[in-house]
């Protein structure tokens, strides 16, 4: 059990570093959704399926979508 939690935490750490290290905001939206999935795995490993479900829906779909739409509005086009 502790091993799974540790592995999930490591995954979250790696994904979070990837978000910070992404230079381009539109790439950042993609790494952000990867971070969302890793957090979902972590919450599931910690036996919190309700929170995991919220995180999955908000963190991997809605927030990155809003970021992408904002970027396309600001950048102008495509």
């Amino acid at each position: 059990m502790t091993f799974i939690v540790g592995a999930a935490l490591t995954l979250v750490l790696a994904a979070a570093i990837a978000v910070v290290a992404s230079q381009d905001p539109s790439r950042q939206a993609v790494t952000l959704s990867v971070l969302g999935v890793s957090l979902t795995v972590l919450f599931f490993a910690l036996q919190a399926p309700d929170v995991a479900l919220s995180q999955l829906a908000v963190g991997t779909a809605i927030v990155p979508l809003m970021v992408m739409l904002t970027i396309s509005k600001i950048r102008g086009g495509r």
Partner: protein, 245 residues
């Protein structure tokens, strides 16, 4: 402020936070222990009200007021976003220039997943009392599912099959129903958001009294609210076109 002064300030503040956190962590119970007084109290309360999903019991029964606050925050922020993202005078509808090319595989998978996702969303809302999930999670799943129409089809398809006005009303109705259920509790002198209708039997689809109804109200509010939110963003990005500088 020079860079040097700033770095010093960061170092001092960082050290202060580190010391504070260290002192706070010393007194924490160790990770994964078996002593959980709050869990025991919450589960006792949820079983007493015939709610199989203890998280729903905490959200809608034991701490219903907190959820009411959260839903009001969501409601207010969506109104705020709608006000900020309304088309300004200079912006006129350019109209989506030409529908982009969608890969066949994306199109087929998108259309195949729409009914699936919608059913999962409804399932998560309706079983919020007995299994993990509830109005919030299910509402967002429903809202995401509807937007597969945009991914697989086009912006026009989405616009035709998703009347934004209807969902604007839905959001208000959901938030209003939550408040009315709360006031009903107060009116019967049991307290705001009290669990006042028959509880049913443990583990049944229709059980847990008002938890089920509040769950549904939140489902309607969050689902409609997120659809309105995404609609405003989509309008800005696609219909009104890129920002002119």
């Amino acid at each position: 402020m020079s860079r040097r002064v700033r770095m010093w300030m960061v170092a001092i503040a960082g050290a202060a936070v580190a010391v504070g956190m260290g002192l706070a962590f010393v007194d924490l119970p160790s990770f994964g222990g078996s002593h959980h007084p709050y869990r025991d109290a919450a589960i006792h309360g949820s079983v007493a009200h015939q709610t199989a999903n203890a998280v729903s019991a905490v959200n809608f029964d034991q701490r219903g007021l907190d959820t009411f606050g959260e839903e009001s925050i969501l409601f207010a922020s969506i109104i705020g976003v709608s006000a900020l993202l309304r088309p300004s005078k200079e912006e006129q509808e350019a109209g989506p220039s030409q529908p982009g090319r969608v890969m066949e595989a994306t199109r087929i998978l998108g259309y195949a997943f729409i009914p699936l996702v919608l059913i999962v969303g409804l399932d998560v809302i309706s079983h919020g009392v007995i299994t993990p999930g509830g109005g919030f999670q299910g509402g967002i799943i429903l809202a995401s599912g509807i937007h597969l129409l945009y991914v697989a089809g086009s912006y026009e398809t989405l616009g035709r099959l998703r009347p934004v006005r209807l969902f604007e009303h839905g959001e208000a109705i959901g938030a209003g129903a939550f408040a009315c259920l709360g006031i009903a509790g107060a009116a019967t002198a049991m307290g705001f958001l009290a669990n006042l209708i028959p509880l049913g039997s443990f583990g049944q689809l229709f059980s847990a009294g008002t938890v089920e109804l509040l769950n549904g109200a939140v489902g309607i509010e969050v689902g409609s609210g997120v659809i309105v939110l995404i609609a405003k963003f989509l309008d800005q990005a696609i219909l009104l076109g890129p920002q002119k500088s």
